[in-house]
Protein backbone atom coordinates (compact mmCIF):
# COMPACT_ATOMS: atom_id res chain seq x y z
CA UNK A 1 0.00 0.00 0.00
CA UNK A 2 1.54 3.30 -1.06
CA UNK A 3 2.09 5.75 1.69
CA UNK A 4 0.34 8.99 0.96
CA UNK A 5 2.21 12.20 1.49
CA UNK A 6 0.70 14.96 3.53
CA UNK A 7 -0.06 17.23 0.58
CA UNK A 8 -1.66 14.24 -1.12
CA UNK A 9 -3.96 13.59 1.80
CA UNK A 10 -4.85 17.25 1.90
CA UNK A 11 -5.57 17.29 -1.80
CA UNK A 12 -7.70 14.17 -1.67
CA UNK A 13 -9.69 15.43 1.28
CA UNK A 14 -10.28 18.75 -0.43
CA UNK A 15 -11.37 16.85 -3.50
CA UNK A 16 -13.88 14.82 -1.54
CA UNK A 17 -15.21 17.91 0.19
CA UNK A 18 -15.62 19.90 -3.00
CA UNK A 19 -17.44 17.00 -4.60
CA UNK A 20 -19.66 16.80 -1.56
CA UNK A 21 -20.53 20.46 -1.89
CA UNK A 22 -21.41 20.05 -5.54
CA UNK A 23 -23.45 16.93 -4.88
CA UNK A 24 -25.21 18.77 -2.08
CA UNK A 25 -26.07 21.55 -4.49
CA UNK A 26 -27.63 19.10 -6.91
CA UNK A 27 -29.73 17.33 -4.31
CA UNK A 28 -30.56 19.80 -1.57
CA UNK A 29 -32.85 22.04 -3.64
CA UNK A 30 -35.24 19.14 -4.11
CA UNK A 31 -35.25 18.37 -0.41
CA UNK A 32 -35.75 22.05 0.33
CA UNK A 33 -38.80 22.32 -1.89
CA UNK A 34 -40.36 19.19 -0.43
CA UNK A 35 -39.76 20.32 3.14
CA UNK A 36 -41.09 23.79 2.43
CA UNK A 37 -44.21 22.34 0.92
CA UNK A 38 -45.10 20.48 4.07
CA UNK A 39 -44.22 23.37 6.37
CA UNK A 40 -46.58 25.88 7.79
CA UNK A 41 -46.64 28.90 5.48
CA UNK A 42 -45.93 31.54 8.09
CA UNK A 43 -43.08 29.63 9.66
CA UNK A 44 -41.56 29.04 6.26
CA UNK A 45 -41.68 32.64 5.18
CA UNK A 46 -38.43 33.56 6.79
CA UNK A 47 -36.60 31.37 4.33
CA UNK A 48 -33.26 29.83 5.05
CA UNK A 49 -32.31 26.19 4.97
CA UNK A 50 -34.83 23.48 5.56
CA UNK A 51 -33.56 20.19 6.82
CA UNK A 52 -36.79 19.33 8.46
CA UNK A 53 -40.20 20.87 7.91
CA UNK A 54 -41.32 23.68 10.21
CA UNK A 55 -44.65 23.01 11.84
CA UNK A 56 -45.49 20.25 9.40
CA UNK A 57 -48.86 20.45 7.79
CA UNK A 58 -50.41 18.97 4.72
CA UNK A 59 -52.76 21.90 4.32
CA UNK A 60 -51.26 23.12 1.09
CA UNK A 61 -51.55 19.69 -0.46
CA UNK A 62 -55.15 19.38 0.54
CA UNK A 63 -55.78 22.75 -1.00
CA UNK A 64 -54.01 21.87 -4.22
CA UNK A 65 -55.94 18.63 -4.53
CA UNK A 66 -59.16 20.55 -4.18
CA UNK A 67 -58.51 22.17 -7.52
CA UNK A 68 -59.59 19.93 -10.36
CA UNK A 69 -56.95 21.13 -12.76
CA UNK A 70 -54.00 19.44 -11.09
CA UNK A 71 -55.60 16.05 -11.56
CA UNK A 72 -56.47 16.80 -15.15
CA UNK A 73 -53.00 17.87 -16.17
CA UNK A 74 -51.47 15.03 -14.24
CA UNK A 75 -53.68 12.51 -15.95
CA UNK A 76 -52.97 14.01 -19.35
CA UNK A 77 -49.26 13.85 -18.72
CA UNK A 78 -49.39 10.25 -17.51
CA UNK A 79 -51.40 9.18 -20.54
CA UNK A 80 -49.11 11.03 -22.86
CA UNK A 81 -46.00 9.57 -21.23
CA UNK A 82 -47.19 5.98 -21.21
CA UNK A 83 -48.68 5.96 -24.69
CA UNK A 84 -45.92 8.10 -26.12
CA UNK A 85 -43.08 6.09 -24.67
CA UNK A 86 -44.64 2.78 -25.66
CA UNK A 87 -45.23 3.97 -29.19
CA UNK A 88 -41.76 5.44 -29.45
CA UNK A 89 -40.00 2.30 -28.29
CA UNK A 90 -42.09 0.20 -30.65
CA UNK A 91 -41.50 2.50 -33.59
CA UNK A 92 -37.79 2.74 -32.88
CA UNK A 93 -37.47 -1.03 -32.68
CA UNK A 94 -39.41 -1.65 -35.89
CA UNK A 95 -37.27 0.88 -37.71
CA UNK A 96 -33.95 -0.08 -36.18
CA UNK A 97 -34.18 -3.77 -36.91
CA UNK A 98 -34.22 -3.71 -40.73
CA UNK A 99 -31.53 -1.04 -40.65
CA UNK A 100 -29.35 -3.31 -38.59
CA UNK A 101 -29.37 -6.08 -41.17
CA UNK A 102 -26.60 -6.15 -43.74
CA UNK A 103 -28.83 -7.87 -46.26
CA UNK A 104 -31.49 -5.17 -46.21
CA UNK A 105 -31.39 -3.38 -49.52
CA UNK A 106 -32.08 0.29 -49.01
CA UNK A 107 -30.28 0.23 -45.72
CA UNK A 108 -27.91 3.08 -46.56
CA UNK A 109 -30.64 5.04 -48.24
CA UNK A 110 -33.03 4.92 -45.31
CA UNK A 111 -30.28 5.42 -42.76
CA UNK A 112 -29.09 8.53 -44.50
CA UNK A 113 -32.64 9.78 -44.90
CA UNK A 114 -33.22 9.49 -41.18
CA UNK A 115 -29.79 10.71 -40.23
CA UNK A 116 -30.19 13.88 -42.25
CA UNK A 117 -33.08 14.91 -40.00
CA UNK A 118 -30.59 15.06 -37.14
CA UNK A 119 -28.64 17.75 -38.93
CA UNK A 120 -31.33 19.86 -40.46
CA UNK A 121 -34.95 20.51 -39.74
CA UNK A 122 -37.81 22.47 -41.19
CA UNK A 123 -38.03 24.59 -38.09
CA UNK A 124 -40.68 25.42 -35.54
CA UNK A 125 -43.12 27.24 -37.80
CA UNK A 126 -43.28 24.71 -40.64
CA UNK A 127 -43.64 21.87 -38.12
CA UNK A 128 -46.40 23.74 -36.35
CA UNK A 129 -48.18 24.23 -39.67
CA UNK A 130 -47.97 20.52 -40.44
CA UNK A 131 -49.51 19.64 -37.08
CA UNK A 132 -52.20 22.22 -37.68
CA UNK A 133 -52.91 20.97 -41.18
CA UNK A 134 -53.30 17.46 -39.86
CA UNK A 135 -55.97 18.73 -37.52
CA UNK A 136 -54.07 17.61 -34.45
CA UNK A 137 -54.16 20.85 -32.52
CA UNK A 138 -55.61 20.50 -29.04
CA UNK A 139 -55.38 16.74 -29.12
CA UNK A 140 -53.28 14.18 -27.32
CA UNK A 141 -51.78 13.13 -30.65
CA UNK A 142 -50.20 16.53 -31.13
CA UNK A 143 -48.12 15.68 -28.09
CA UNK A 144 -47.32 12.14 -29.09
CA UNK A 145 -46.88 12.07 -32.85
CA UNK A 146 -44.46 14.90 -33.64
CA UNK A 147 -41.85 13.41 -31.37
CA UNK A 148 -42.78 9.79 -31.90
CA UNK A 149 -39.31 8.70 -32.90
CA UNK A 150 -35.99 10.26 -32.15
CA UNK A 151 -33.39 9.50 -34.80
CA UNK A 152 -30.69 9.47 -32.15
CA UNK A 153 -32.46 6.89 -30.00
CA UNK A 154 -33.27 4.79 -33.01
CA UNK A 155 -29.63 4.67 -34.05
CA UNK A 156 -28.61 3.69 -30.54
CA UNK A 157 -31.00 0.78 -30.78
CA UNK A 158 -29.82 -0.11 -34.25
CA UNK A 159 -26.20 -0.15 -33.19
CA UNK A 160 -27.12 -2.39 -30.28
CA UNK A 161 -29.02 -4.77 -32.57
CA UNK A 162 -25.94 -4.99 -34.76
CA UNK A 163 -23.93 -6.29 -31.86
CA UNK A 164 -26.18 -9.31 -31.51
CA UNK A 165 -24.62 -12.32 -33.26
CA UNK A 166 -26.07 -13.06 -36.69
CA UNK A 167 -26.15 -16.77 -35.98
CA UNK A 168 -29.14 -16.38 -33.69
CA UNK A 169 -31.13 -14.69 -36.35
CA UNK A 170 -30.04 -17.05 -39.06
CA UNK A 171 -31.02 -20.17 -37.16
CA UNK A 172 -34.40 -18.67 -36.42
CA UNK A 173 -34.96 -17.86 -40.08
CA UNK A 174 -33.96 -21.40 -40.98
CA UNK A 175 -36.61 -22.62 -38.59
CA UNK A 176 -39.14 -20.69 -40.61
CA UNK A 177 -39.56 -17.56 -38.52
CA UNK A 178 -40.40 -14.30 -40.23
CA UNK A 179 -38.47 -11.11 -39.39
CA UNK A 180 -41.22 -9.83 -37.15
CA UNK A 181 -41.02 -12.94 -35.03
CA UNK A 182 -37.25 -12.74 -34.97
CA UNK A 183 -37.48 -9.18 -33.74
CA UNK A 184 -39.98 -9.76 -31.00
CA UNK A 185 -38.97 -13.19 -29.83
CA UNK A 186 -35.21 -13.08 -30.15
CA UNK A 187 -33.75 -9.64 -30.68
CA UNK A 188 -35.85 -7.59 -28.27
CA UNK A 189 -35.50 -9.92 -25.29
CA UNK A 190 -31.75 -9.73 -25.77
CA UNK A 191 -31.82 -5.96 -26.03
CA UNK A 192 -33.16 -5.21 -22.59
CA UNK A 193 -30.41 -2.73 -21.58
CA UNK A 194 -30.73 -0.70 -24.77
CA UNK A 195 -34.51 -0.80 -24.65
CA UNK A 196 -34.50 0.31 -21.03
CA UNK A 197 -32.17 3.16 -21.89
CA UNK A 198 -34.23 4.51 -24.74
CA UNK A 199 -37.45 3.97 -22.82
CA UNK A 200 -35.97 6.17 -20.17
CA UNK A 201 -34.90 8.81 -22.69
CA UNK A 202 -38.37 8.88 -24.19
CA UNK A 203 -40.17 8.64 -20.86
CA UNK A 204 -38.29 11.48 -19.25
CA UNK A 205 -38.63 13.52 -22.42
CA UNK A 206 -42.37 13.04 -22.40
CA UNK A 207 -42.79 13.75 -18.72
CA UNK A 208 -40.72 16.93 -18.84
CA UNK A 209 -42.08 18.16 -22.11
CA UNK A 210 -43.19 21.74 -21.98
CA UNK A 211 -42.89 23.40 -25.37
CA UNK A 212 -45.30 21.20 -27.26
CA UNK A 213 -47.95 21.82 -24.66
CA UNK A 214 -47.51 25.53 -25.19
CA UNK A 215 -47.46 25.25 -28.96
CA UNK A 216 -50.21 22.79 -29.66
CA UNK A 217 -52.63 22.84 -26.74
CA UNK A 218 -54.96 25.70 -25.98
CA UNK A 219 -57.70 23.91 -24.13
CA UNK A 220 -56.89 24.07 -20.42
CA UNK A 221 -58.41 20.65 -19.88
CA UNK A 222 -55.96 19.08 -22.26
CA UNK A 223 -52.89 20.79 -20.96
CA UNK A 224 -49.91 19.03 -19.49
CA UNK A 225 -48.17 19.17 -16.18
CA UNK A 226 -45.13 21.30 -16.98
CA UNK A 227 -47.22 24.01 -18.59
CA UNK A 228 -49.48 24.04 -15.55
CA UNK A 229 -46.44 24.28 -13.33
CA UNK A 230 -45.08 27.17 -15.32
CA UNK A 231 -48.33 29.04 -14.91
CA UNK A 232 -48.29 28.36 -11.20
CA UNK A 233 -44.75 29.68 -10.90
CA UNK A 234 -45.76 32.95 -12.44
CA UNK A 235 -47.36 35.14 -9.77
CA UNK A 236 -50.70 35.29 -11.48
CA UNK A 237 -51.04 31.53 -11.41
CA UNK A 238 -50.44 30.89 -7.75
CA UNK A 239 -52.57 33.85 -6.75
CA UNK A 240 -55.35 32.53 -8.90
CA UNK A 241 -55.35 29.14 -7.24
CA UNK A 242 -55.18 30.74 -3.82
CA UNK A 243 -58.07 32.98 -4.72
CA UNK A 244 -60.11 29.99 -5.77
CA UNK A 245 -59.55 28.06 -2.62
CA UNK A 246 -59.54 30.80 0.00
CA UNK A 247 -63.16 31.24 -0.84
CA UNK A 248 -63.71 27.74 0.48
CA UNK A 249 -61.88 27.38 3.72
CA UNK A 250 -60.96 29.80 6.45
CA UNK A 251 -57.57 28.38 7.23
CA UNK A 252 -56.61 28.76 3.60
CA UNK A 253 -55.73 32.31 4.53
CA UNK A 254 -52.66 31.01 6.25
CA UNK A 255 -51.28 29.77 2.95
CA UNK A 256 -48.87 31.81 0.91
CA UNK A 257 -48.25 31.82 -2.80
CA UNK A 258 -44.80 30.48 -2.05
CA UNK A 259 -46.13 27.36 -0.42
CA UNK A 260 -48.51 26.73 -3.28
CA UNK A 261 -45.62 26.99 -5.69
CA UNK A 262 -43.53 24.58 -3.66
CA UNK A 263 -46.36 22.10 -3.53
CA UNK A 264 -46.85 22.22 -7.27
CA UNK A 265 -43.14 21.75 -7.89
CA UNK A 266 -43.02 18.79 -5.53
CA UNK A 267 -45.99 17.14 -7.11
CA UNK A 268 -44.40 17.59 -10.54
CA UNK A 269 -41.06 16.20 -9.61
CA UNK A 270 -41.80 13.42 -7.13
CA UNK A 271 -42.32 10.67 -9.74
CA UNK A 272 -38.94 11.43 -11.27
CA UNK A 273 -37.23 11.54 -7.88
CA UNK A 274 -38.68 8.19 -6.91
CA UNK A 275 -37.95 6.42 -10.16
CA UNK A 276 -34.51 7.89 -10.80
CA UNK A 277 -32.30 5.95 -8.38
CA UNK A 278 -33.57 2.67 -9.74
CA UNK A 279 -33.23 3.49 -13.40
CA UNK A 280 -30.05 5.48 -13.29
CA UNK A 281 -27.80 2.59 -14.19
CA UNK A 282 -29.80 1.86 -17.35
CA UNK A 283 -29.50 5.44 -18.39
CA UNK A 284 -25.76 5.37 -17.84
CA UNK A 285 -25.42 2.26 -19.96
CA UNK A 286 -27.55 3.82 -22.66
CA UNK A 287 -25.30 6.82 -23.00
CA UNK A 288 -22.31 4.55 -23.30
CA UNK A 289 -23.92 2.41 -25.95
CA UNK A 290 -24.65 5.52 -27.88
CA UNK A 291 -21.43 7.40 -27.65
CA UNK A 292 -18.46 5.17 -27.02
CA UNK A 293 -17.42 3.11 -30.00
CA UNK A 294 -17.15 -0.64 -30.02
Amino acid sequence: MNKKTAPEIFGLSLNAILLFIFAFSTTYPFWHVIMYSISDSRAAMSGGLFFIPRDPTLLAYRMLFKTKLIFIVYRNTIIRTVVGTGLSVLLSSLTAYPLSLARFKGRSFFSLMIFFTMLFSGGMIPTYLVVKTLGLLDSLWALILPGAMSAYNMFILRNFFQSIPNSLEESALLDGANPLQVLFQIILPLSAPALAAIAMFYGVGNWNSYLDGVLYINDANKQILQVYLRTMLGTAGAKGVLGDISGNLTDASSLTEETMKMVTITVSVIPVLIVYPFLQKYYTKGILIGSVKG
Partner: protein, 327 residues
Protein backbone atom coordinates in the same frame (compact mmCIF):
# COMPACT_ATOMS: atom_id res chain seq x y z
CA UNK B 1 -25.49 -21.30 -78.94
CA UNK B 2 -22.76 -18.72 -79.01
CA UNK B 3 -21.83 -17.59 -75.49
CA UNK B 4 -21.93 -13.83 -74.94
CA UNK B 5 -18.57 -12.29 -74.10
CA UNK B 6 -17.63 -12.41 -70.38
CA UNK B 7 -17.68 -8.64 -69.99
CA UNK B 8 -21.19 -8.45 -71.31
CA UNK B 9 -22.26 -11.12 -68.86
CA UNK B 10 -20.53 -9.47 -65.95
CA UNK B 11 -21.87 -5.96 -66.38
CA UNK B 12 -25.13 -5.33 -64.60
CA UNK B 13 -27.48 -3.03 -66.37
CA UNK B 14 -29.70 -0.71 -64.41
CA UNK B 15 -32.63 -2.88 -65.41
CA UNK B 16 -30.89 -5.81 -63.82
CA UNK B 17 -30.48 -3.80 -60.67
CA UNK B 18 -34.10 -2.84 -60.56
CA UNK B 19 -35.17 -6.42 -61.14
CA UNK B 20 -32.80 -7.49 -58.40
CA UNK B 21 -34.25 -4.91 -56.04
CA UNK B 22 -37.79 -5.89 -56.91
CA UNK B 23 -37.03 -9.56 -56.33
CA UNK B 24 -35.41 -8.77 -53.01
CA UNK B 25 -38.33 -6.63 -51.94
CA UNK B 26 -40.74 -9.42 -52.68
CA UNK B 27 -38.64 -11.93 -50.79
CA UNK B 28 -37.97 -9.83 -47.73
CA UNK B 29 -41.13 -7.73 -47.91
CA UNK B 30 -41.67 -8.06 -44.17
CA UNK B 31 -38.65 -5.87 -43.49
CA UNK B 32 -40.07 -3.16 -45.70
CA UNK B 33 -43.38 -3.34 -43.91
CA UNK B 34 -41.62 -3.05 -40.59
CA UNK B 35 -39.75 0.04 -41.56
CA UNK B 36 -42.79 1.64 -43.16
CA UNK B 37 -44.28 3.32 -40.04
CA UNK B 38 -40.92 4.84 -39.14
CA UNK B 39 -40.33 6.15 -42.63
CA UNK B 40 -43.88 7.48 -42.81
CA UNK B 41 -43.28 9.31 -39.56
CA UNK B 42 -40.02 10.79 -40.85
CA UNK B 43 -41.64 11.89 -44.08
CA UNK B 44 -44.66 13.47 -42.43
CA UNK B 45 -43.09 15.16 -39.44
CA UNK B 46 -39.57 15.84 -40.66
CA UNK B 47 -39.60 16.17 -44.43
CA UNK B 48 -42.99 17.68 -45.00
CA UNK B 49 -42.11 20.64 -42.74
CA UNK B 50 -39.00 21.12 -44.86
CA UNK B 51 -41.31 21.91 -47.71
CA UNK B 52 -42.71 24.66 -45.53
CA UNK B 53 -39.30 26.30 -45.57
CA UNK B 54 -40.35 27.83 -48.85
CA UNK B 55 -42.42 30.27 -46.80
CA UNK B 56 -39.14 32.00 -46.04
CA UNK B 57 -38.89 32.90 -49.70
CA UNK B 58 -42.48 33.87 -50.28
CA UNK B 59 -44.95 36.53 -49.41
CA UNK B 60 -47.07 34.23 -47.30
CA UNK B 61 -50.28 34.78 -45.47
CA UNK B 62 -51.98 32.02 -43.52
CA UNK B 63 -55.31 33.07 -44.92
CA UNK B 64 -54.25 32.89 -48.52
CA UNK B 65 -52.24 29.73 -48.22
CA UNK B 66 -49.52 28.56 -50.58
CA UNK B 67 -51.45 29.13 -53.76
CA UNK B 68 -51.53 32.86 -53.35
CA UNK B 69 -48.02 33.31 -52.01
CA UNK B 70 -45.68 34.71 -54.64
CA UNK B 71 -41.93 34.17 -54.50
CA UNK B 72 -40.03 37.15 -53.28
CA UNK B 73 -36.51 35.83 -53.23
CA UNK B 74 -34.45 37.01 -50.31
CA UNK B 75 -36.74 39.86 -49.33
CA UNK B 76 -37.76 38.23 -46.06
CA UNK B 77 -34.15 37.75 -45.11
CA UNK B 78 -33.31 41.34 -45.87
CA UNK B 79 -36.20 42.41 -43.66
CA UNK B 80 -35.09 40.02 -40.99
CA UNK B 81 -31.59 41.40 -40.74
CA UNK B 82 -33.03 44.86 -40.57
CA UNK B 83 -34.94 43.99 -37.45
CA UNK B 84 -33.28 45.02 -34.22
CA UNK B 85 -35.04 42.17 -32.46
CA UNK B 86 -33.40 39.59 -34.67
CA UNK B 87 -29.96 41.11 -34.39
CA UNK B 88 -30.37 41.14 -30.65
CA UNK B 89 -31.48 37.51 -30.67
CA UNK B 90 -28.52 36.55 -32.82
CA UNK B 91 -26.13 38.40 -30.53
CA UNK B 92 -27.56 36.81 -27.41
CA UNK B 93 -27.49 33.44 -29.09
CA UNK B 94 -23.80 33.69 -29.83
CA UNK B 95 -22.86 35.14 -26.46
CA UNK B 96 -24.79 32.55 -24.49
CA UNK B 97 -23.50 29.70 -26.65
CA UNK B 98 -19.95 30.89 -26.19
CA UNK B 99 -20.34 31.26 -22.45
CA UNK B 100 -21.86 27.81 -22.21
CA UNK B 101 -19.00 26.43 -24.26
CA UNK B 102 -16.18 28.12 -22.38
CA UNK B 103 -17.54 27.51 -18.92
CA UNK B 104 -19.63 24.46 -19.53
CA UNK B 105 -17.34 22.32 -21.60
CA UNK B 106 -14.47 21.88 -19.13
CA UNK B 107 -16.75 21.26 -16.16
CA UNK B 108 -17.64 17.61 -16.79
CA UNK B 109 -13.99 16.90 -17.50
CA UNK B 110 -12.83 18.42 -14.24
CA UNK B 111 -15.68 16.74 -12.42
CA UNK B 112 -14.72 13.37 -13.91
CA UNK B 113 -11.12 13.77 -12.84
CA UNK B 114 -12.23 14.62 -9.35
CA UNK B 115 -14.65 11.72 -9.10
CA UNK B 116 -11.97 9.43 -10.43
CA UNK B 117 -9.73 10.27 -7.49
CA UNK B 118 -12.25 9.03 -4.96
CA UNK B 119 -11.12 5.77 -3.45
CA UNK B 120 -14.21 4.84 -1.46
CA UNK B 121 -16.46 3.12 -3.98
CA UNK B 122 -19.67 3.69 -2.05
CA UNK B 123 -19.00 7.40 -1.77
CA UNK B 124 -18.07 7.51 -5.44
CA UNK B 125 -21.35 5.89 -6.42
CA UNK B 126 -23.27 8.25 -4.14
CA UNK B 127 -21.63 11.31 -5.66
CA UNK B 128 -22.25 10.08 -9.19
CA UNK B 129 -25.92 9.37 -8.54
CA UNK B 130 -26.33 12.76 -6.91
CA UNK B 131 -24.74 14.89 -9.59
CA UNK B 132 -26.61 13.27 -12.44
CA UNK B 133 -30.00 13.88 -10.82
CA UNK B 134 -30.70 17.41 -12.16
CA UNK B 135 -30.43 16.11 -15.69
CA UNK B 136 -33.79 14.39 -15.35
CA UNK B 137 -35.78 17.34 -14.27
CA UNK B 138 -37.52 19.81 -16.54
CA UNK B 139 -36.43 23.40 -16.94
CA UNK B 140 -39.73 24.55 -15.53
CA UNK B 141 -38.96 22.68 -12.34
CA UNK B 142 -35.45 24.11 -12.31
CA UNK B 143 -36.96 27.55 -12.66
CA UNK B 144 -38.97 26.71 -9.57
CA UNK B 145 -35.89 25.47 -7.73
CA UNK B 146 -34.03 28.66 -8.58
CA UNK B 147 -36.93 30.60 -7.19
CA UNK B 148 -37.02 28.50 -4.04
CA UNK B 149 -33.35 28.99 -3.32
CA UNK B 150 -32.69 32.51 -4.51
CA UNK B 151 -35.94 34.34 -4.08
CA UNK B 152 -35.46 37.57 -2.15
CA UNK B 153 -38.74 37.05 -0.35
CA UNK B 154 -38.46 33.64 1.27
CA UNK B 155 -35.68 31.85 -0.48
CA UNK B 156 -33.07 29.69 1.15
CA UNK B 157 -30.24 32.14 0.60
CA UNK B 158 -32.21 35.14 1.77
CA UNK B 159 -33.14 33.39 4.97
CA UNK B 160 -29.55 32.28 5.52
CA UNK B 161 -28.28 35.81 5.07
CA UNK B 162 -30.89 37.12 7.46
CA UNK B 163 -29.88 34.54 10.01
CA UNK B 164 -26.33 35.81 9.79
CA UNK B 165 -27.51 39.32 10.37
CA UNK B 166 -27.32 40.61 6.80
CA UNK B 167 -29.87 43.33 6.34
CA UNK B 168 -30.08 43.82 2.64
CA UNK B 169 -31.97 41.88 0.04
CA UNK B 170 -30.31 39.32 -2.14
CA UNK B 171 -30.84 40.38 -5.75
CA UNK B 172 -33.61 38.56 -7.53
CA UNK B 173 -31.57 36.50 -9.93
CA UNK B 174 -34.50 35.61 -12.09
CA UNK B 175 -35.40 39.19 -12.92
CA UNK B 176 -32.03 40.89 -12.76
CA UNK B 177 -30.82 41.70 -16.25
CA UNK B 178 -27.19 42.18 -15.43
CA UNK B 179 -26.67 38.70 -14.04
CA UNK B 180 -29.21 36.75 -15.99
CA UNK B 181 -26.90 35.31 -18.61
CA UNK B 182 -24.76 33.91 -15.82
CA UNK B 183 -27.83 32.36 -14.27
CA UNK B 184 -28.55 30.69 -17.57
CA UNK B 185 -25.02 29.41 -18.03
CA UNK B 186 -24.57 28.26 -14.44
CA UNK B 187 -27.91 26.51 -14.23
CA UNK B 188 -27.13 24.84 -17.55
CA UNK B 189 -23.87 23.57 -16.09
CA UNK B 190 -25.61 22.50 -12.90
CA UNK B 191 -28.08 20.46 -14.89
CA UNK B 192 -25.73 18.89 -17.40
CA UNK B 193 -22.29 18.51 -15.84
CA UNK B 194 -23.13 15.30 -14.04
CA UNK B 195 -24.46 13.70 -17.17
CA UNK B 196 -21.36 14.76 -19.06
CA UNK B 197 -19.13 12.85 -16.68
CA UNK B 198 -20.51 9.51 -17.81
CA UNK B 199 -18.62 9.45 -21.07
CA UNK B 200 -15.39 10.71 -19.56
CA UNK B 201 -15.48 8.31 -16.63
CA UNK B 202 -16.05 5.44 -19.02
CA UNK B 203 -13.06 6.54 -21.06
CA UNK B 204 -10.93 6.88 -17.92
CA UNK B 205 -11.94 3.38 -16.88
CA UNK B 206 -10.36 2.14 -20.06
CA UNK B 207 -6.92 3.48 -19.26
CA UNK B 208 -4.25 0.93 -18.53
CA UNK B 209 -3.53 0.84 -14.79
CA UNK B 210 0.10 0.01 -15.37
CA UNK B 211 0.81 3.45 -16.67
CA UNK B 212 -0.06 4.91 -13.29
CA UNK B 213 2.09 2.42 -11.48
CA UNK B 214 5.02 3.10 -13.76
CA UNK B 215 4.61 6.83 -13.30
CA UNK B 216 4.40 6.46 -9.54
CA UNK B 217 7.64 4.52 -9.53
CA UNK B 218 9.24 7.25 -11.54
CA UNK B 219 8.20 9.65 -8.84
CA UNK B 220 5.22 11.38 -10.40
CA UNK B 221 2.69 12.76 -7.94
CA UNK B 222 -1.08 12.40 -8.36
CA UNK B 223 -1.51 15.73 -10.09
CA UNK B 224 1.27 14.95 -12.50
CA UNK B 225 -0.24 11.54 -13.19
CA UNK B 226 -3.58 13.19 -13.79
CA UNK B 227 -2.11 15.58 -16.30
CA UNK B 228 0.21 13.28 -18.16
CA UNK B 229 -1.79 10.09 -18.15
CA UNK B 230 -5.50 10.62 -17.55
CA UNK B 231 -5.93 13.86 -19.38
CA UNK B 232 -3.60 12.79 -22.16
CA UNK B 233 -5.62 9.63 -22.73
CA UNK B 234 -8.80 11.63 -22.80
CA UNK B 235 -7.42 13.96 -25.37
CA UNK B 236 -9.11 12.49 -28.41
CA UNK B 237 -12.47 12.16 -26.66
CA UNK B 238 -12.21 15.77 -25.55
CA UNK B 239 -11.29 17.07 -28.97
CA UNK B 240 -14.13 15.24 -30.66
CA UNK B 241 -16.75 16.29 -28.13
CA UNK B 242 -15.49 19.86 -28.29
CA UNK B 243 -15.79 19.95 -32.02
CA UNK B 244 -19.32 18.63 -31.93
CA UNK B 245 -20.21 21.18 -29.30
CA UNK B 246 -19.00 23.98 -31.53
CA UNK B 247 -21.18 22.58 -34.29
CA UNK B 248 -24.19 23.13 -32.05
CA UNK B 249 -23.55 26.81 -31.47
CA UNK B 250 -26.66 27.99 -33.23
CA UNK B 251 -28.77 26.34 -30.58
CA UNK B 252 -28.41 28.11 -27.28
CA UNK B 253 -30.94 26.22 -25.17
CA UNK B 254 -34.52 26.90 -26.19
CA UNK B 255 -36.27 24.81 -23.54
CA UNK B 256 -34.27 26.42 -20.81
CA UNK B 257 -34.66 30.00 -21.88
CA UNK B 258 -38.29 29.65 -22.78
CA UNK B 259 -39.05 28.23 -19.34
CA UNK B 260 -36.96 30.69 -17.36
CA UNK B 261 -37.18 33.90 -19.32
CA UNK B 262 -39.57 36.74 -18.57
CA UNK B 263 -40.16 40.21 -19.99
CA UNK B 264 -37.71 41.81 -17.58
CA UNK B 265 -34.72 39.88 -18.84
CA UNK B 266 -35.68 39.21 -22.39
CA UNK B 267 -33.29 41.77 -23.80
CA UNK B 268 -30.33 39.69 -22.69
CA UNK B 269 -31.83 36.26 -23.00
CA UNK B 270 -33.84 36.22 -26.18
CA UNK B 271 -32.19 33.78 -28.56
CA UNK B 272 -33.01 32.83 -32.13
CA UNK B 273 -35.37 30.05 -31.11
CA UNK B 274 -37.32 32.20 -28.69
CA UNK B 275 -37.36 35.01 -31.23
CA UNK B 276 -38.81 32.66 -33.83
CA UNK B 277 -41.47 31.66 -31.35
CA UNK B 278 -42.40 35.24 -30.49
CA UNK B 279 -42.43 36.49 -34.05
CA UNK B 280 -44.01 33.41 -35.52
CA UNK B 281 -46.53 32.13 -33.07
CA UNK B 282 -47.38 35.15 -31.02
CA UNK B 283 -47.20 37.79 -33.69
CA UNK B 284 -48.14 35.39 -36.46
CA UNK B 285 -45.48 36.73 -38.78
CA UNK B 286 -44.75 33.41 -40.41
CA UNK B 287 -42.50 34.79 -43.12
CA UNK B 288 -39.92 36.33 -40.84
CA UNK B 289 -40.10 33.50 -38.35
CA UNK B 290 -39.55 30.84 -40.98
CA UNK B 291 -36.71 32.87 -42.46
CA UNK B 292 -35.05 33.13 -39.06
CA UNK B 293 -35.57 29.42 -38.46
CA UNK B 294 -34.10 28.56 -41.83
CA UNK B 295 -31.13 30.80 -41.20
CA UNK B 296 -30.50 28.97 -37.95
CA UNK B 297 -30.92 25.49 -39.44
CA UNK B 298 -28.77 26.28 -42.40
CA UNK B 299 -25.90 27.86 -40.50
CA UNK B 300 -26.23 25.06 -38.00
CA UNK B 301 -25.90 22.48 -40.76
CA UNK B 302 -22.83 24.22 -42.18
CA UNK B 303 -21.24 24.36 -38.77
CA UNK B 304 -21.90 20.69 -38.12
CA UNK B 305 -20.54 19.64 -41.50
CA UNK B 306 -17.41 21.74 -41.11
CA UNK B 307 -16.71 20.66 -37.56
CA UNK B 308 -17.40 17.07 -38.50
CA UNK B 309 -14.88 17.23 -41.32
CA UNK B 310 -12.32 18.66 -38.93
CA UNK B 311 -13.04 15.99 -36.34
CA UNK B 312 -12.65 13.32 -38.96
CA UNK B 313 -9.27 14.68 -39.93
CA UNK B 314 -7.98 14.58 -36.40
CA UNK B 315 -9.53 11.32 -35.36
CA UNK B 316 -10.75 9.25 -38.28
CA UNK B 317 -13.88 7.18 -37.71
CA UNK B 318 -15.15 9.50 -35.07
CA UNK B 319 -17.48 11.66 -37.08
CA UNK B 320 -21.22 11.75 -36.71
CA UNK B 321 -21.49 10.03 -40.06
CA UNK B 322 -20.03 6.89 -38.68
CA UNK B 323 -22.42 6.86 -35.79
CA UNK B 324 -25.15 6.73 -38.35
CA UNK B 325 -23.52 4.37 -40.76
CA UNK B 326 -21.86 1.88 -38.45
CA UNK B 327 -20.91 -1.45 -39.96
Amino acid sequence: MKRPSPTLLARKTSTDRLIGLYRYMRKDYMLYLMILPGIAYILIFKYWPMYGISIAFRDFSIFKGYADAPWVGLRNFVNLFGKAGFIRALKNNIIISLLKLIMGFPTPIILSLMINELSNLKYKKLIQTSVILPNFVSWVVINGLLYAIFSPSSGAIQGLLAAFGYDGKFPNLLTDKSNFRMVIVLSHIWKGAGMGTIVYLAAIAGIDREQYEAAAIDGAGRLSQMWHITLASLRSTIVILLIFRVGEMMYAGFDQIFAISNPLVISVADIIDTYVYTIGLEQRNFMLATAAGLFQSFIGLMLVLITNAIANRIEPDSSLMNFAKRK
